[in-house]
């Protein structure tokens, strides 16, 4: 292998191990809808304060609405009406988490040569994690009519409305001028923007 080949191989190796860093290179996340490029960006402090303020105002509105229910009240109602026992699901989640830790312990103490056991334990772990994910989704969807969930949804939607941008020609522009425009917009676009914003804000709420 001559020097040029070595150099080329090193460069290609460097690119291979560099991977796609677009997720973290800045505090923005790009996505496409109908071949149009969009992005959501992290809200600045002023925008976060504005969204919190709007959330407080909408809370007052929600409280006046008929059927407004808090999370704890909803949990009680769901149990009383035999719809679902959220506390039982939480206990199930707890026991699944314990089971997960048991398998982690077993897997961690296996030598890399023990492929059979590694594969068996890994499969069990994946199944438990999938069950935990389903359980969390189930709990969240049953609690979505609660005041707390609606307020959280409003906050993320409001931040998305403020911080979503598109790139029509040379510069980034706001996608929606008003919250009303956002609410009337194509749900494919708004859902994708909200999902991207949720990822961007991950663990920040």
């Amino acid at each position: 292998m001559d020097n040029k080949e070595i150099l080329n191989e090193s460069i290609s190796e460097l690119f291979k191990s560099n991977y796609d860093d677009s997720l973290i290179k800045d505090n923005k996340l790009c996505f496409t809808v109908n071949e149009q490029l969009y992005r959501v960006r992290m809200p600045n402090q002023g925008e976060q304060s504005l969204a919190e303020h709007k959330k407080n105002l909408i809370q007052l509105e929600y409280l006046k609405q008929e059927g407004c229910i808090t999370k704890n009240q909803l949990i009680r109602q769901l149990k009383l009406n035999n719809v679902i026992d959220i506390e039982h699901l939480e206990e199930l989640r707890e026991s699944l988490s314990k089971e997960l830790k048991r398998f982690w312990f077993l897997l961690a103490t296996k030598d890399s040569g023990d492929k059979k056991k590694i594969s068996e334990y890994s499969e069990n772990i994946t199944k438990i994690q999938e069950s935990l994910q389903r359980l969390s989704l189930d709990i969240a969807s049953h609690l979505s009519p609660s005041l707390e969930s609606r307020l959280e949804k409003f906050y993320v939607e409001y931040i998305t409305f403020i911080c979503a941008e598109y790139h029509p020609d040379k510069e980034w522009k706001k996608v929606w001028d008003t919250l009303e425009d956002f609410n009337k917009a194509d749900t494919v676009l708004t859902n994708k923007a909200i999902a991207s914003m949720t990822w961007l804000l991950l663990n920040k709420r």
Binding site: D20, S112, L202
Partner: protein, 121 residues
């Protein structure tokens, strides 16, 4: 590939591990285009950068019997190892505290070994 898996893949890469190490040593290297207001994804990336740094460091020092490169490559095995390591460290800490308490046992009178004061923290 899901987003967290992607973040972990980038964080464990030698390329980013070297950048992270240099950034910590030199200080003036900027990891991201933004200097502040990090996104949740960037915070997650920083978390995994430091986790994989500790794993590579443990691997070089042959700190743990069950840690090898295959464990770091496989996210499920890596999660399992991280949990097991945290339990081992907790046990070590507990053992250390118990030993510290035992060393604080003081004899009330010299030559009399049947009674003693125990300082339980």
């Amino acid at each position: 590939m899901n987003i967290e898996k992607q973040i972990r893949t980038i964080a464990k890469s030698i390329f980013w591990q070297n950048i992270y190490k240099s950034a910590k040593e030199i200080g003036s290297i900027q990891l991201f285009e933004n200097k502040s207001n990090f996104s949740g994804l960037q915070n997650l990336f920083l978390f995994w950068l430091s986790v994989y740094e500790s794993l590579y460091s443990d691997l070089i020092q042959k700190e743990w019997k069950y840690l090898d490169e295959k464990v770091i490559e496989d996210d499920i095995r890596c999660d399992a190892f991280l949990y097991w390591r945290s339990q081992m460290r907790e046990n070590e800490l507990h053992k250390y505290k118990t030993e510290q308490q035992a060393s604080k046992l003081k004899f009330r009178e010299s030559g009399n070994v049947s009674t003693f004061n125990v300082d339980i923290q």
